[in-house]
């Protein structure tokens, strides 16, 4: 009698789990698939099935000075926000985790509060504040506004890393004669780097896609890509919107991949 093959018994729980994951993945990816079809479809409206494959909407997007100016401005602002949010958020997280601050819970809630307010209200409040103090709507004001929204992301991811941090490594370095600055740059920073930079990725993406806060703070000829797309959509709802969306998605993906190659975000994912 031959031995029975190693059959994995049917597990209804596992099957339900896999099915649920596939459904969720489909739900998340379906909008991207629709945008993809719209971006390559030559018709000036959403039609299914697509009537062909064309790059005309990408041509229109890349040839449009409004789109290109907005894209570069958005990238530039997002890059500034990434740096500022990493510096401010990282420093705040260290202070909150290590500083033995009184009312630590209050400060944590305070720094996280921009995430609790509707962003449109944050944008409106900043807009009124800027006008009241008479500074108008400068680009640095927009960068500060985006940073305000982005800092909590860096704060949260860095605090998560610091929570699992073994301080004895720092103490060992100090005992061996390293100065506090050297301990920070050669021990602390490399160990918390995944959390800080994961927050930085979020900060970049949050800024690059930021619409409600930007809505009130952009100036004529200084509009970010989401604002330009919104206004474009009101008058010309064609495939250029989808092409712009594809470019945005690819850029965000590129940032994540580059950071993964540079600093290894997987290390953070394991935490």
């Amino acid at each position: 009698m031959s031995a029975a093959p190693n059959k994995v018994p049917f597990d209804p729980g596992r099957a339900a789990y896999v099915t649920l994951n596939v459904v969720l993945l489909g739900f998340l990816l379906a909008p991207i698939a629709i945008v993809l079809v719209f971006a390559f479809n030559p018709t000036p409206y959403i039609s299914f099935p697509p009537v062909g494959v064309s790059l005309r909407w990408f041509d229109k997007f890349f040839a449009g000075s409004d789109f290109m100016n907005a894209l570069w401005l958005s990238l530039w602002i997002a890059a500034c926000v990434l740096v500022l949010a990493v510096v401010i958020g990282g420093a705040c997280a260290l202070a909150l985790a290590r500083g033995n601050l009184p009312a630590r819970g209050f400060f944590t809630a305070f720094f996280m509060s921009p995430l609790m307010l509707p962003a449109i209200l944050t944008g409106l409040a900043l807009f009124q504040s800027y006008l009241l103090v008479g500074i108008g709507r400068p680009v640095w004001g927009l960068i500060m506004a985006h940073t305000l929204i982005a800092v909590p992301y860096v704060l949260r991811t860095t605090l998560a890393v610091l929570h699992n941090f073994d301080r004895r490594i720092e103490e060992a370095a100090a005992v061996l004669g390293a100065s506090p600055l050297r301990v920070f740059f050669e021990v602390t920073l490399p160990l918390i780097r995944p959390g800080v930079f994961a927050g930085g990725v979020f900060a970049f993406i949050v800024s690059f896609d930021q619409f409600p806060v930007s809505l009130f703070l952009v100036v004529p000829k200084g509009e970010t890509l989401p604002v330009v797309l919104f206004n474009y959509m009101k008058f010309d709802l064609d495939g250029a919107i989808a092409a712009a969306s594809m470019v945005s998605i690819l850029l965000a993906l590129a940032v994540v991949l580059v950071l993964e190659r540079l600093i290894g975000l997987k290390a953070y994912v394991k935490l």
Partner: protein, 348 residues
């Protein structure tokens, strides 16, 4: 006798004074007029030719804001230092702004001489500021679906159009608001008969709703709807090489007016320049340029459009007489209640 040293000193002093004073002189000469304006094709024409020509004529610069929402931004800025010098919106928002004292009521020919040549609707008691263009809100329809071309607003209720008719999210779109008032006129005692309008709206279900007119255009082009409420320019612009199987119907009961209105905030520090801009926008050459670019009906009755535009747009007193102007002051005062009611009716 002036010594060489003194001459040099005096020259240097004058040069320094000129250098210090120059920015203010330059600043005075290059005032920046802050305006709101539309995007799309309109925005392209404005940026390419209309605004540069104005800047050249008036030795100023124009900062044109195309990023909605305009009214909340004006509301948030200081009344004595408003964010805009010229406020371009549809009529409903002008009335909201007037209620809050954010814009002026009317202009005279002393401020804007070209007002003398506009059709009466452009400065009627239903208008705050002055209308520079109008579109006709009627019915857009597919010509390739075997439908009988509509003639009346009532045709939108044809049972054959169930799920194939298009309308707007009434709380956020003035075309939807106009349509609601028109339902009151068609099925009730007049534009303000809301009970009749609500009842008629109920009968239009199932109806596909959109936020923007641009979306309605695309829904018609993609045949997602066969008939929908839209402004004439949203259909007429698909002609020539760009021709699509869609057409526009001006219903026999009349068309609703979708006015492009200009106004000036009372606190503007550049009022004269703002008036000059409005006058410029009402000038026949600018009116013709923009009307033929975007298929808007010019408010200046002296404008002579090319034949194909003249044949379709509201360019004669007879056609202008078909325009029905809503009372936005009345509507805005009830907007919250109307929004709640129509949302309940059209929910789902």
């Amino acid at each position: 006798m002036i010594s060489r040293r003194n001459a040099l000193k005096t020259g240097a002093g004058l040069a320094a004074a000129a250098t210090v004073g120059a920015p203010s002189i330059l600043h005075a000469e290059t005032a920046t007029l802050k305006i709101t304006t539309w995007g799309g094709k309109w925005g392209d024409i404005m940026k390419a030719s209309v605004l540069p020509a104005f800047e050249k004529e008036h030795k100023c610069t124009v900062s044109a804001d195309q990023a909605f929402p305009f009214l909340p931004k004006l509301q948030a800025s200081r009344k004595n230092d408003p964010l805009y010098d010229v406020f371009h919106t549809n009529s409903n928002e002008q009335w909201s702004a007037l209620t809050e004292g954010l814009v002026m009521d009317k202009f005279t020919t002393r401020e804007v001489p070209n007002i003398a040549d506009v059709y009466p609707y452009a400065v009627s008691d239903k208008i705050v500021g002055v209308t520079i263009f109008t579109s006709a809100i009627g019915l857009g329809y597919r010509t390739d679906k075997g439908l009988t071309p509509p003639k009346s607003w009532k045709d939108l209720a044809d049972p054959k159009l169930a799920g194939q008719r298009g309308g707007y999210l009434i709380p956020v779109n003035s075309l939807g608001q106009c349509h609601l008032m028109m339902l009151g006129k068609i099925y009730g005692k007049g534009l303000q008969d809301l009970d009749a309008a609500y009842k008629a709206l109920e009968q239009l279900k199932p109806i596909k709703l959109v936020d923007f007119t641009g979306q309605m255009e695309k829904m018609l082009l993609s045949a997602e709807v066969s008939e929908g409420v839209i402004h004439d320019s949203g259909v007429y612009r698909y002609e020539g090489d760009n021709r699509q199987p869609v057409d526009f119907c001006s219903p026999t009961e009349g068309v609703m007016a979708l006015e492009q209105v200009l106004n000036v905030p009372p606190g503007s520090k550049l009022k004269e320049l703002a008036y000059a801009y409005i006058d410029y926008m009402l000038r026949p050459d600018m009116q013709k340029l923009l009307a033929e670019a975007v298929w808007y009906s010019p408010a200046n009755k002296k404008v002579k459009l090319a034949e194909k535009y003249d044949a379709k747009l509201l360019t004669t007193p007879e056609r202008v007489a078909t325009l029905i102007q809503p009372d936005w002051k009345w509507y805005n005062a009830r907007k919250d209640d109307i929004d709640a009611r129509v949302t309940k009716i059209l929910k789902g």
